[in-house]
Structure formats: C-alpha cells, structure tokens
Point group: C2
Chain length 412, copies 2
Amino acid sequence: MSQGFKYERLFASSAPPANLARAFAPRVRYDFAVAYPDPDSLPLEGLWQAAREALRREGRDLALYPQSRGNLALRELIADKLARDRGMKVSTEEITLANGSMQAITLLFEVFLEPGDIVLTERFFYLGTLRALRRFKADIIGIPTDEDGMLMDELEKALKRLASEGKRPKFIYTIPAYQNPDGSVLSLERRKRMLELSREHGIPVIEDDCYVDLRYEGEMPPAMHSMDADGRVMYLSSFSKIVAPGVRLGWVVAPEEVTGRILAIKLDGGPNEFASLVVRDYLRKEMYPHIAEINGIQRVKRDAMLSALGENFPLTCRWSKPKGGLYIWLELPLGADTVKLQEAALKEGVGYISGVTFSPADEGKNFLRLCFGYNTPEEIREGVKILARVAQREGMLDPKHKGGDLVDGGEC
Amino acid sequence: MSQGFKYERLFASSAPPANLARAFAPRVRYDFAVAYPDPDSLPLEGLWQAAREALRREGRDLALYPQSRGNLALRELIADKLARDRGMKVSTEEITLANGSMQAITLLFEVFLEPGDIVLTERFFYLGTLRALRRFKADIIGIPTDEDGMLMDELEKALKRLASEGKRPKFIYTIPAYQNPDGSVLSLERRKRMLELSREHGIPVIEDDCYVDLRYEGEMPPAMHSMDADGRVMYLSSFSKIVAPGVRLGWVVAPEEVTGRILAIKLDGGPNEFASLVVRDYLRKEMYPHIAEINGIQRVKRDAMLSALGENFPLTCRWSKPKGGLYIWLELPLGADTVKLQEAALKEGVGYISGVTFSPADEGKNFLRLCFGYNTPEEIREGVKILARVAQREGMLDPKHKGGDLVDGGEC
C-alpha cells in the first residue's frame, strides 16, 4: 500500500513511539537470548491427544465467548496445583486467566499505575515487566540483591526514606523463585520479612512465580501468597515454561476487589478457550511427569553451561549457579560493554541479553543473561566457547577492574 | 482468602470501576443475546485433524515466543483471503494478529485516543467497541443510518459543524458489512462518499469487517480499504464468525506508521501460536466450503426468526431483514422499555440485548438486538413466541406511539 496519509499528528500523546524492531528479532544458532524451553521435549503428542478428547467432549463450547476469567475447569486445575505446590488456598473466583502472564502483568499495572507512581523491584528484573512499568511511566526503584534475593535491609531503608518524604509506593514487584535474570531464590526468612514490611507500610506485593516449577535442586520456600492472611499479595504464574510459550496461558490470583478492576479493563473477549481446553486436558493427565521430564533435561543443560563457562571464561568473570529456572547471570569485568559486544556475538551466531535491558537505571553494562533452555548441551558448549572468544577478542575480559559485587556465588 | 487489606485507595484514577458482573453472564435456553455461531457446525473434526498435522510439522516452534505480528503463514493466508474476497492488496507486514478483533480494536484506540477526542460512529454500534471508546473517554458522535448504512449527508453535516468549531475527529469507526446491531450494508456509493469526506477532512477510517463472510443473499461492495489509495483506512476482521470465537484470532490491517505504534504497546508476548497453527492448517483446506456450509445453516435460522417475528409481533413493531450477519434489530413502539423487559424475558429463558447498550447517547430504549446464530430454528421459533408473549404481558407492544424512524425495511 502506498501511504500518502500521515498519521503522526493523530497519535495520542500518551502512546509510546513506534517499535517495529520487535517484529524482527533475529534468530541465531546459539539462542541464549530468549527464555525458550527445550523444543524437543514439548508435549506435542500429549497436546494433540488432549485436543482430540477436549474437542469431542466440549468443542461445542468454542461457539461461546469465553468467560471473562477464563475456563472454569482450568482455573480449578490451577487452584489445585497452587494448593499442592505452593501452599496456597485460593478459590477459582480469585484466578483470572490471561494470554500469558505478560497480559496479566499489564492488566495489573493498568489497574494501579498512574504516571510517576513509585514501584519497588529487584535491582535487575524481567525485561517484559520493566517495559510495562516504563509504558505506564512508573518511577521504579531497584533494590539490591544477593544470592538469596532482594536485600530486606535495603528494602526497609528505601521504604523508610520514601515514608519520610511522604511518598507511598504502589506495590513491590518481585520474582522470588529463580529470579529473572539472576536466578536467585528469595529465602523463607526474607519472604516473611517482606510481608512484614508490606504490612508496616501498607503496600501490596506482586509475586511473579513464573519459573517456580523449573526446580533442579534444593528446596523452594512456599509462596509469599500462602503466608499472607489478609490479601496483600497478588500472584502471577504461567504455563509457558511447563507446556509452551506458544499456548499463551498465564494467570493472576488477586482478591475480588482487584479482579473486578481487571475484568473492567480486559476487553479482549476472554482468554483463548481452545488453548485452555487442550492444555487443561493435557495437564490433568501428564503435568507432574512432564515437569519431572523437562527438569531432568534442563538440569543437564544448566550443568553444560556452567561447565562451559568454567572452561572458557577467565578469573575476571563471575556467574550465578541457579538451582532452577532458565538463566545464568554472567558478570564481566567492570568496564566491559555487553551492549557493544552483542553485535559481534550475533555475527558469530550467539544471542544473549545485556544486563542494561533488565535495569530500570540502565545499570549492568558489564552483565549479561544467558538462557540455557533452547539449545542442546553440545550447542551450549560450542556457543559459550564462541562467546568467550568474541569477548576476549573485543577486549571485554581484560581485568581493568575486578567485577562488582552485585552477584555472588559464581566462580571462574 | 480473607481480605483485610484494602486496595481501593491504590487504584489509578484512570482505571474504570470494578465490573464483576461480566464474569457471570447468565446462559439461557433461548440465547439471542450474544453473537454466537451455530455450535453444531463448528469444524471440530477439521480443527483436530489440523492440530495433528500442524503439531507434527511445526510443533517445535511452540517453544518460541510468537512473532509480535503473529504467525507469518497465517498472515499470508489472510492477505490472500482479503485479496480474493475484499479486493484488498495488503502485505503481511501490514497485518497484525490479535486475540480476537476486540484486542485489535483496543490497541488501535490506545494508539489514537486521548480523553475527550472525538470519534464518529454509526448511531448504534457494536457494544464492545462502545465499551472500549468509553474506556478511553472518547467523545462519541453517532451518525444516523438507514438500511444502506450511515447517512453521508449527516456525516458531512457533522464534519462541517465540527470543522467550523475548530474540532477535528480522530477517526470514523464503521461496520459497513452487516452492521452490528442493525444488519445494514453500506452501499458502494456511500463507501465512496465516506472516503471522499475522509480525504476532505483529513480523518482516517476504521473499517470493522468482522461479519462480512456471513453473506446469505445479495452482493457485497468491496472493502473501503480496497478503494483507498493512500492508507487512510485501517481494517479489522476476525475468525470468530467463520471458525469459532473460542480460537480468539482477529487482526488489524494498518500502515507501518500505525503498526509500529501498535507493536510498541502490545506487550502480551504475541498472539496465540497454538491456535494460529491449527486454524491456519484448517482454513487452508476447508475455508470456503465451511463458509458455504455455515451460511446455509444461518440463512435458515435468519428466515426462521423473521417468520417467527411476523407471526408473533404486532403491527406496532418493525425489524430489519439482514442479508447477512447474525442479528435482527427489533423496534418496539415508542415508550417501550427493553431494559425493563429484559428481566422478565430472562425469567422465561429468553436473552437479548437492549438497544441502549449499542448507543453512545443511551438512546434506543425501544430497540433490541436478537442474534439467530446459536439456537436451532425450532428453538428460535419458540423463543421469539415467548418473547412476544412476555412483551405483550408487560405492555411493551401497545401502540402508544408508532415506532420511530431509525430502522426501515422491517415489517409486521
């Protein structure tokens, strides 16, 4: 289409500028950038069998527009899962399905945020959430972390400072289980302390538990939602990691007061009923064996990446050793520029995401996130080797300074 | 969950009030309220076969997050369909898939609308669009219509008046094919005239063509998009009516300038790839025979409803005789209150939607919309009979006044 007509002057001033780049994300051989699961262990046969049964039994219901909260039986399955795995007692009315947890996040933010509202997060966190917070023009305060997650002393300090300035944040957003990008797990003690601080300051918590099922070793504390007696924790999760991102099914657990607001702005005709029927029938039969299977596969991949890092990266670098999830958080020497390095790495077929992409303050130039979910262990070893070579060639591994103190637990 | 924590003071002032009612829409025996398709002609076997083939061939791709615009091969199928059926020449880059056309509508509105912006529409129009326009606090000006759609003299008058006041509307939103709720088709001449007015006044058009495939008789003019040389028409459609609402797949066709803005705010992780693969494989094989089949079925249902209206409603009433789509627009005598009637009708198992629900000015109290898509012809005859009886009993058919002049082409 030729385009004579100019739209520019008609756009809402609140709408963000065009972003066509997002439509052309490059695919590379060593795809450590995006948090894809293992493509060979997707339950394709199981999904297809489930599709046949679900369509035969309930296919007629596809003629209906879905319930606003989404398929009831899938919400029942989720309520059962949360009780069993996370110690949570929630009713189906508290659960709202969404097209991936990212839609749920956006809806929550739209319900709460006005430009300039203060939000507390980990110092580095999920870029999708960061993008959404920026879209709603939140004032984001990143709290420092260590290998046990957000530092409660730092959170307390920030809350006290804000209170003394007469400012009350809208909420705390946290990924307490296998945090994205640093892989940390918020300890039980800190979970309790976060809830105390939330109570003291009257600030709700959004607990994003999207990666919790991907546990390779160690224990996982119960969800903060389960320790909360008065509804101050809103909880997010998703089937992207244990079924597939392509089914686009996530959910939010929130009290009626919040759910009613969400439903008032959720004008998309309801969650995908077709995907809901199929995923529900599949999970009823196969959920826990499938989770065990993919965790076995991902554990091997994580170990492959950790040993490849040890073999190829020098003493000037450090990295996380996550007990679950899909990411390793790699710290190069201070002065390294992982944004600049990106282009050279992509040319050699290695994709990753620079630390700055996870930082509300554009910090973390010497950090990068590596996902080990998609490639085979062999490819992971090759890709990490290539990345180390490129980084070396570009002078990014030189010990101008010893790495900072943002991440602990790595080794060289 | 007990809920001690109070969220009320934390909500954004721009967020609409809670709406839990949407989660509890009643299902009734004679469900003339929602635009459901025929549940018995859903292509369940075809979808299941397509699921098997698509998962075998491309299931691995479900591990990926979908492209922002959605599955490329499905967008190719849509581009081909639009060329064949609507005379449109569009590239796959101009097409963005969404979770139903309702998501596409919401995204477009978010790109364009600031509170108080003027939007021109038909006098009565799709309640989902109306809800979205209200959410973005648009100033909606409804233009009168007749059986050939929006009256161009009235549109011109409104545009001139606004221009004389120094106001420029953001866009014209129209459903030119089997308009929802009145079933009218915008004539070729008026389509041309609307484009002229759009050019003269520098105002783009959003053409919502969601119902165009449901043609039971007569000709359908080409899409306005196809007659537009310079990109001023944005175009919406959906697979809800020819596959199923439950697959939640719609799309918007827009120039790059607009698409880039849409992608910048569309943070949901992409359209449903699973549904896209399955629907695409199904439609490649079966699209036109399936459309022919469902149109044969819906034509019989429309005729059943028209004859039941003729048999049961008195001379004080009028109704549309649509050549396609899923709706009949019924006008009761002036003074009738279809909001009040609703409860009595629901008690007897008959659902419909009151005219006021389609009006930005809360007009149309004596109108109601009846959908003939879901029930069988026999049920339609029963339901219409019951509705007439209830309306009679409630005094809604008394000829206090002869019906107004909003809809022509009905008879008693």
